[in-house]
């Protein structure tokens, strides 16, 4: 039925099957839209956030998807700036993933703020000393850049390309892509860092506060590093998952290996620096704020196991997997490593968001726990469903993996 929209030479399931695949996600997205509507109409009392947990599941989601979406800019950077041509095989997919992650994050942010109609105030009355201003500016512009990068991929759809001026425009944009990639890289580096800086500058929250260089706390750099380390792993993971689900070989194994190798090296550097940072923080920064660091881990479920899992199991282990050429040749190992690395960056963002707020500062304030309301979870799931649907549509109708056709035949 929709075959005229599908690229020639690739295998896609029947329309019926595709709709059946989309249906549950659409239901999930529908529930999410309802929950978002509730939050916008009735206000944030629909969530379980409160004055102590002023940030909750949604900020965690924002931080996590933006970290994972780093695959887009970093792949672009490697391809267009460092000229790693092998990555052309995944660049389109990475751009779509990046667009999904960033647009999802911006959408959730718009629900998360108390007065979404005033979101543009940041551009009107900017406080340039705030990390959040930097994040807002960079994310908005980078989302625009991603949309511009996404556009040529859309324009090359089989039907759209029949419009002559679309293709002309696509061709012209394509020529300028390195400029956009460079801008995207610049923006991404900054806001990934600013998201880390967001917490690192919290002088009043010893759990998050870090010393730094110039105006940037160490979390600024660690967030950049962890994002670019896991970005390729996420691209690897999604590509192999899509490959599994669609039953098509999408890229050569060498591409996987390259992504893993990049991820591995960056991860090991990250784990090293993170460990140094943790030691300095526990022994210098936190005690200076009058905190005995053992207090950070005195409240279940946030025991020291969280720290160990984050750094060793979800940091060091995937790094070692990725760095071993023998392991890299095996797809199951690559998948294990990618899952661990992605979980690691998610756990890091979760800890920075939730544990920072959960650890009491005033001695007479109790430790509090937070559990999201269904509206928050539904909104969270909406972003997932939105991502799956948009990716599925893109995968079906656009050329995300240039190598796919030749991998299939001949």
């Amino acid at each position: 039925m929709d075959s005229s929209l599908i690229l020639r030479g690739v295998r896609r399931c029947s329309t019926k099957r595709f709709l059946a695949w989309l249906a549950p996600w659409a239901v999930m997205a529908g529930i999410g839209v309802f929950a978002i509507g509730l939050c916008l109409v009735k206000g944030l009392n629909q969530t379980n956030m409160d004055n102590r947990f002023a940030f909750g599941l949604w900020i965690f989601l924002d931080l996590a998807v933006i970290a994972l979406g780093a695959g887009a800019f970093f792949t672009g950077f490697l391809l267009y700036i460092l000229r790693r041509d092998e990555l052309r095989a995944v660049i389109n997919s990475a751009v779509v993933l990046g667009f999904i992650c960033y647009s999802g994050a911006v959408l959730v942010l718009a629900v998360d703020v108390g007065q979404p109609l005033r979101a543009w105030f940041t551009f009107w009355h900017p406080n340039v000393h705030s990390m959040l201003t930097e994040v807002t500016f960079c994310i908005t512009v980078y989302l625009t850049v991603l949309a511009i990068e996404y556009l040529p991929i859309v324009l090359k759809n089989r039907q759209l390309r029949k419009v002559p001026s679309f293709l002309v425009f696509e061709g012209e944009l394509h020529k300028l892509m390195p400029v956009l990639a460079a801008v995207g890289t610049f923006l991404s580096f900054f806001h990934q860092g600013s998201l880390g800086g967001l917490y690192g500058v919290l002088q009043g929250r010893p759990f998050a506060f870090r010393d730094g260089f110039a105006i940037w706390p160490t979390t600024f750099f660690l967030f950049i590093l962890s994002a670019i380390a896991t970005g390729p792993a996420f691209v690897l993971l999604t590509t192999s998952i899509v490959s599994k689900i669609s039953g098509a070989r999408l890229v050569r194994h060498g591409v996987y290996e390259l992504l893993a190798k990049i991820s591995g090296w960056l991860l090991i550097i990250y784990v090293g620096l993170k460990s140094v940072d943790t030691i300095v923080w526990l022994n210098q920064t936190a005690p200076r704020s009058g905190i005995n660091p053992s207090q950070f881990y005195a409240w279940q479920p946030f025991g020291t196991w969280v720290l160990i899992v984050e750094i060793v199991l979800l940091g060091l282990v995937p790094a070692l997997i990725f760095m071993s050429p023998a392991r890299r040749r095996s797809l199951p190992w690559l998948l294990t490593g990618s899952v661990l690395a992605c979980l690691g960056v998610a756990l890091n963002r979760l800890v920075m968001t939730i544990q920072t707020l959960a650890v009491p500062t005033l001695k007479f304030e109790p430790f509090m726990t937070y559990w999201p309301s269904w509206q928050e979870v539904a909104t969270f799931l909406f972003v997932i469903a939105y991502g799956v649907i948009l990716y599925s549509l893109s995968f079906r109708y656009l050329r995300l993996f240039p190598q796919e056709r030749e991998m299939q035949k001949y």
Partner: protein, 256 residues
Amino acid sequence: MESAETTRARFAMVIDLDRCNGCGACATACAVENNVPPARPSANERTGLTWQRVYRASNGRQFPENRSVYFPVSCQQCEHPPCVSVCPQNAVDVSPETGVVSQIPVRCLGCRYCMTACPYHARYFNWFDPKWPDGMETTLNPDVSVRMRGVVEKCNFCHSRWQAAKAKAAAAGKRDLDPADYVPACVEACPEKAIVFGNLDDPRSGVAKSAKSANAFRLLEKLGTEPKVFYRSDRAWVRRLADADVAVQEKEATRG
């Protein structure tokens, strides 16, 4: 009318914890003065709006040696406020005239970053639309506007009272406020006279003297926020509660 520029001041308060008995008059007076709406049925102590919140703490000992202390905690009006620099749109500011950390609710977009930055949990978010029972809006203080849902608010040392005092001084042609004209609602309402309020820069003021007294202290002093709300107590265990460091064995204590 152009009013004469008042001299700069650093307003502060000293709360005597040995006098405070936790009656809650300050919190109530604050809500009435500043048009803080009553709670919706589903609001709780975590989603409520209490610019002046009274915490109960104890010496942690067993009955009958257990003793209480009540900490009235409002915005601590820090000299180095962690909340100001984080606001993405300049909705938080420090007034050079009063040293008070002001919150501009009409510019706030409700991102709540300042709340995560504040170690005193003194900032509150309007989770609900402000709503008074029918007719009760006629009892609102005309000098303070009502904040809308979705913005952050907090204590501003009864800013409207400062403005009224300033206008009064200007009308009398004076540069300085009469200290008796500017007293926040909580200070006025305290039946135990536990709160002393005044200009820290004025060495003759009661607040300047009390703040320097031996048993005066501030909350979480090591964070370097330099609050302008001081506390005092002759009891050593009360003063120890001001530090951030919680002994781990105490963690299961207190309220759930």
